[in-house]
Amino acid sequence: MSPFTEARMHLAVELTAAGRHPAAARWAGLDPATLLSAAHHAGLARTAARRGLDLALIPHTFHPDGGPLLDAVSVAARIAPVVAGIGLAPTATVTHTEPFHVSKSIATLDIVSAGRAGWEPAVSRTQAEADLFGRKPAEPADVLWREAAEAIEVVVRLWDSWEDDAVIRDAATGRYLDRDKLHYLDFQGEFFSVKGPSITPRPPQGHPLVVLRADEAAALPVAARWADVVRISAPDLPTAAEARDRIRSAVADAGRDPDLVTVLLDVEVHLAAERDRARRDLTELDRLAGAELPASSVRVLGPPTDLADLIGTAVRTRAADGVTLLPLVLPADLDVVAGQVVPLLAGRGLLRTGTAGSLRSRFGLRRPANHFAGATS
């Protein structure tokens, strides 16, 4: 890689209904019904896509603190046919759900988006979430991530359970399918067993992009084994740089090439023409929420140049390979990012160009080989 291309970065945005701040909807005067409408979500994705952002992350939890959250895979599927270009990575949790269903839903998102699907697996930590299902109690992080590792393995193996050329339509023998190219998983884990194969053929990308958080120790080995994109949060850039080094080492220890794993740093943003104004806005948001929103990661409150400067520094100092923007207020902050921050980054030569094709290709990844190819069923 030349130093020039090394300086280029990936840009993702998290599209929560009204933004990261729990009082965002009230502050912006958004009708709660609007937040549940397809038009709202498609509009956000369209804004991000128009400026060439790589990836929209769509969060989900069964027990949201802020406003209601639609099922994230459903939102991504509703967006995909009407918003071109941008990758769509919904969160699908793996603690109280069935890996078989998750696998086919993400595979199908890849079908309806023509190869632009990603997936962020997440764990459900709280007793409040466990109570919605009533199947098992809340578990500690190490247990949750051991289970998540099994779920991810099953999801990915199910994607591979059909070889690409399994459908043959051979009139001479009356066979639609070459069943030797379909494979049972016979997965037996600590937490569950899954027979396979999937009911859904292998998705267009082979493996949709897997995005994982690696902020806690228990998640790191899972990310090192499975993630194409690793999300981190950090209070400042030096801390982020340490986390990135740690992740790259873990990826190498897991026998994978660290250069094929992209580390994205979370950056909370609220943009205004002046820093004072942005800070006053946050004070007002916190007042409406009745509590101060602690920063979950690096936070930029200020004009577009502040954000462009921070991103430039992050990439130059190898604190991250790119950022995930967490707008505190949507759609306002995203509009400023698209209208002003992206042109600044482009002007500084920080953005990649020529971003057609699959989501994997945007992240420099080839279509993966099939785990089962060549095996007999």
Binding site: L36, S37, A38, A42, F62, H63, P64, G67, P68, L69, L70, D71, V73, S74, V75, A77, R78, I79, A80, P81, V82, H96, T97, E98, P99, F100, H101, S105, A107, T108, L109, I111, V112, A114, A128, D131, L132, F133, G134, R135, W162, V167, R169, T173, G174, R175, Y176, L177, D178, R179, L182, F191, S193, V194, K195, G196, P197, I199, T200, P201
Partner: protein, 434 residues
């Protein structure tokens, strides 16, 4: 006003009704196929598009069945994507109550209803075999007799969540313990339209108590009238009016310029649907034994069915009847028609289409079933993907409109509007409760 016909459009399924060997047969999984099919159904002002689902690939003689179309995308994901490329048509998905948890289902159906602005429908199925359960955490341990108990509890919990409107829901039952809030309430339709598939007495009772539509088998006019009267008569005891439950049999159809040409075309399609290999597979299903040495163009086997081998085909509803009686019926049929071959018998016994004729003939026959109270409409099951409904929409729909039995425009935005269903909490009118 004349009784109006309701139409659902069943995306071609993964069985031998769907013909893959035809040059016009497109991809069964490309999104473009779903878009073509659904936009065409919407052009035909149909009430809803319908997706089936099975959660384990079918096996025959211990191996994955390879003769029929195989492979389906995920139901919720396809329906949400279809919501993006249509504006009015209802979006009905088959979702299993045994291998899903009610809270997650409540979120998924609420999301579909919000994202489609009130077009969601749930075709509830209750499969619980251990074979399918092998793909799931919870396994297949649900005893058969508890299928409807679980289904009823799933409906109770999901409806309580949809009705929550900010309140905490707490449910404790034999199948589920669920406690928590539900931020996605209320839904545009109140509740998604609920379809029940299954004709058993248990299924009919469940539908009468719970469902907005019943997806049933199609038979003769008289059989339809008897079924229709039976399920409608079950409604008052649940405080419901006859219009609250629509009876919609699944039907196949063949169209041609003349009735005679349609009969020829129907015979040709049946031969496509029953290839020589498929004929033997059907035979093995009834006989319960391996019969691959038999010539599909030769006579039926002399050996009797192995009545103990009930698992030769798995992942598909098997003949509920005694296989010996079916075998005898097939032999009698072959003999009565001058010695039919295996393939000819299978074609005759498994594949006859419901409506065959010119567009005018088919429209008149369908109208008769509805006007004479054998049903409230149909779920159309075409044999080709993605164009299997094209001719029906272009030629039968105008005939139905000319008969005054079919809408010329959608009357409202939601699927409940299309089906003429009340909002779930609307009371009966005085006339209905009389």
């Amino acid at each position: 006003m004349k009784k109006q016909i309701h139409l659902g459009a069943h995306f071609p399924g993964v069985n031998n009704t769907t013909v893959w060997s035809d040059p016009r047969a497109g991809s069964q999984t490309d999104f473009a196929s779903f878009v073509h099919f659904t936009q065409n159904a919407e052009r035909g002002l149909m009430d809803f598009v319908f997706l089936a689902e099975g959660l384990r690939l079918r096996e025959h003689r211990g191996r994955i069945h390879d003769l029929d179309v195989v492979g389906r995308p995920d139901t919720f994901t396809v329906l949400n994507a279809l919501a993006a490329v249509t504006t009015r048509i209802g979006l009905a998905g088959t979702i299993n109550t045994t291998y899903n948890e009610p809270y997650e289902l409540a979120v998924q159906f609420a999301s579909l209803d919000h994202l489609s602005a009130g077009r969601a429908a749930w075709n509830m199925v209750t499969t619980s075999d251990a074979f399918t359960g092998e793909n799931f955490r919870r396994g297949g341990f649900l005893p058969r007799e508890q299928r409807y108990e679980r289904a009823a509890e799933v409906v109770a919990v999901t409806r309580a969540l949809w009705d929550a409107r900010g309140a905490e829901v707490e449910h404790h039952g034999p199948q589920f313990d669920v406690r928590g809030g539900f931020g996605l309430s209320p839904l545009p339709q109140g509740h998604p339209v609920l379809i029940q598939a299954g004709d058993s007495a248990q299924g009919r009772d469940f539908a009468a108590a719970t469902a907005d539509a019943i997806f049933t088998l199609h038979g003769t006019l008289e059989a339809g009238q008897a079924f229709y009267a039976d399920v409608k008569a079950r409604l008052p005891q649940h405080g419901r009016a006859p219009g609250d439950l629509k009876v919609l049999p699944g039907v196949t159809f063949v169209l041609a310029d003349t009735d005679e040409e349609a009969q020829d075309e129907a015979a040709r399609i049946r031969r496509q649907q029953v290839s020589p290999q498929t004929a033997i597979a059907f035979l093995e299903q009834v006989w319960g034994r391996e019969l691959s040495e038999y010539d599909p163009d030769g006579p039926l086997p002399d050996v009797d069915p192995d009545v103990d081998n009930v698992s030769i085909t798995r992942g598909r509803v098997r003949h509920a009847r005694d296989p010996r009686a079916v075998a005898q019926e097939w032999r009698d049929h072959a003999e009565a028609h001058g010695g039919l071959s295996i393939r000819e018998v299978v074609i005759e016994k498994t594949g006859r289409q419901s409506f065959i004729g010119s567009p005018r003939t088919v429209a008149a026959q369908m109208d008769e079933f509805v006007q004479r109270d054998a049903c409230d409409g149909f779920i159309l099951v075409p044999h080709l993907t993605p164009g299997g409904l094209d001719r029906f929409v272009a030629e039968v729909v105008p005939e139905l409109q000319d008969l005054g039995s079919y809408r010329t425009e959608y009357s409202g935005p939601t699927l409940r509007d299309h089906l003429g269903l009340r909002h779930p909490h609307a009371p009966l009118t005085r006339k209905e409760s009389a």
